[in-house]
């Protein structure tokens, strides 16, 4: 009898675990990953990180961002093998710091692919060092928020953002 109760409890736990793994509270919530993330980056209020991309600004808009990324991007020889897209997802906290970066690498048909050695790290580092972000302000309140940008490459050359 005890064994049956144990089995029922076990199944219950397994079920709730699988549900928890399937979706975060909100699609796009990005939990801390010790291998990828800077532990010094903290949300001001981790319970209320906005998924309102348009509220995150960059000094001088997308043009300003593009200018700053181009300054940082060095098209190394080994990157020439890459033509496709890199989607950079990230969070900006209420202190205008960037963190929780996640990259999606896609080919020109938007199929998942891989980038040459070093490119992913280079893009991650370039984005991490941008310092002209403006956090979301919504109904006169300061918030943390998530955003993303798409970078297009042709033969390792950064074409558009």
């Amino acid at each position: 009898m005890r064994f049956i109760i144990f089995l029922i409890l076990l199944c219950g736990c397994a079920d709730s675990d699988s549900k928890r793994i399937l979706y975060p509270d909100q699609i796009g919530d990005t939990i801390f990953d010790a291998e990828l993330d800077d532990p010094n980056f903290q949300f001001c209020n981790a319970e209320q990180v906005l998924h309102k991309r348009n509220l995150i600004k960059y000094q001088n808009g997308t043009k300003g961002l593009e200018k700053d990324i181009r300054k940082k991007y060095i098209a190394k020889q080994e990157f020439q093998a890459f033509s496709g897209y890199i989607i950079v997802r990230f969070a900006i906290n209420c202190n205008n710091q960037i963190g929780r970066l996640r990259l999606e690498i896609l080919d020109n048909n938007f199929k998942s692919t891989s980038a040459p050695d070093g490119l992913e790290t280079h893009i991650r580092d370039s984005f991490s060092s941008l310092n002209a972000w403006q956090h979301p302000v919504y109904k006169d309140q300061d918030y943390d928020g998530y955003s993303f940008y798409t970078l297009k490459f042709t033969n390792g050359k950064l074409e558009l953002i």
Partner: protein, 271 residues
């Protein structure tokens, strides 16, 4: 008045993206149940766990109900999860291409893959009973997105052709707030300055609040070596863009920044 009509039209266009009436499906069918579950799903915030789980239930019980896949994909696209969004939306397209191809084309456009955007829209407009579809935000017809995508790919003539056809066949009462502007800017980029100016004049009758219109109009006058008019337009563009409550174009294709206008004004002074 035009803006009020636009808002009404926008609300109407948004309702096109709401789900169909569940009663059109037979009682007890998978589609009926999936439809009812999807109704429950949209009561929760978009992208929330509760909402996504209900869409999963809907899909499990009615796998041929396309709207559940479509609606489940939306938060992924909006939040930068392109592959995941496509993986889900493609199932809706396989079931009902006429309803969902334009939506995928729109996200291809948003994520800057103009070739795939063009492929989807060309496929869509060849479908039997293809109808005019707006962007999800309702700011413009997808034909304008197609025209802009051609221009982005370097084929401005083709872009002009598509938008000219749309504008010619649309009455001024039905034209959107930025349609003439879009055609005018393509003319200007194509060095058809007189056509550009003529189109911008039409635009100003519909909506005179877009800084971008004055900027491109300035470029067109500059192209015709009319420096006086060019300066007047660039000055106006600057006034408009410095207005916090200015009209901002959704999906402009070729966005104008304050620095662009200042550079043109500086260049006029120098030459």
């Amino acid at each position: 008045m035009k803006q009020i009509i636009f808002m009404i039209f926008l609300l109407c266009s948004l309702t096109c993206f709401t789900q169909p009436n569940c009663y059109i499906y037979p009682e007890g069918s998978g589609e009926r149940k999936a439809c009812e579950l999807s109704y429950k799903a949209i009561e929760y915030p978009q992208g929330s766990r509760a909402s996504q789980e209900l869409f999963d239930k809907a899909i499990a019980i009615g796998p041929k109900y396309a709207w559940a896949y479509y609606e489940k994909s939306v938060p992924y696209f909006k939040r930068g999860f392109l592959s995941k969004g496509l993986q889900i939306l493609n199932k809706a397209i396989a079931l009902e291409p006429r309803e969902y191809l334009c939506y995928r084309a729109y996200w291809y456009w948003q994520y800057k893959n103009y070739r795939l955007c063009i492929n989807d829209l060309e496929r869509y407009y060849k479908l039997p009973k293809a109808y005019l579809q707006q962007t999800p935000g309702g700011d413009k017809d997808m034909k304008l997105i197609l025209g802009l995508a051609y221009a982005k790919q370097g084929n401005i003539n083709k872009g002009i052709e598509v938008i000219e056809e749309f504008v010619t066949n649309t009455s001024e009462d039905d034209i959107n707030l930025t349609d003439y502007h879009t055609l005018g800017l393509l003319y200007t980029l194509n060095e058809q300055y007189a056509e550009g100016i003529s189109m911008f004049k039409k635009q100003l009758r519909v909506n005179a609040d877009i800084p971008d219109t004055y900027y491109y109009m300035g470029l067109a006058y500059k192209g015709l070596s009319n420096r006086t008019e060019a300066k007047i337009k660039f000055d106006m563009a600057l006034i408009k863009i410095l207005d916090e409550s200015r009209f901002k174009i959704a999906n402009p294709g070729f966005r104008v920044y304050e620095s662009d206008i200042r550079e043109e004004l500086k260049s006029l002074k120098l030459n």
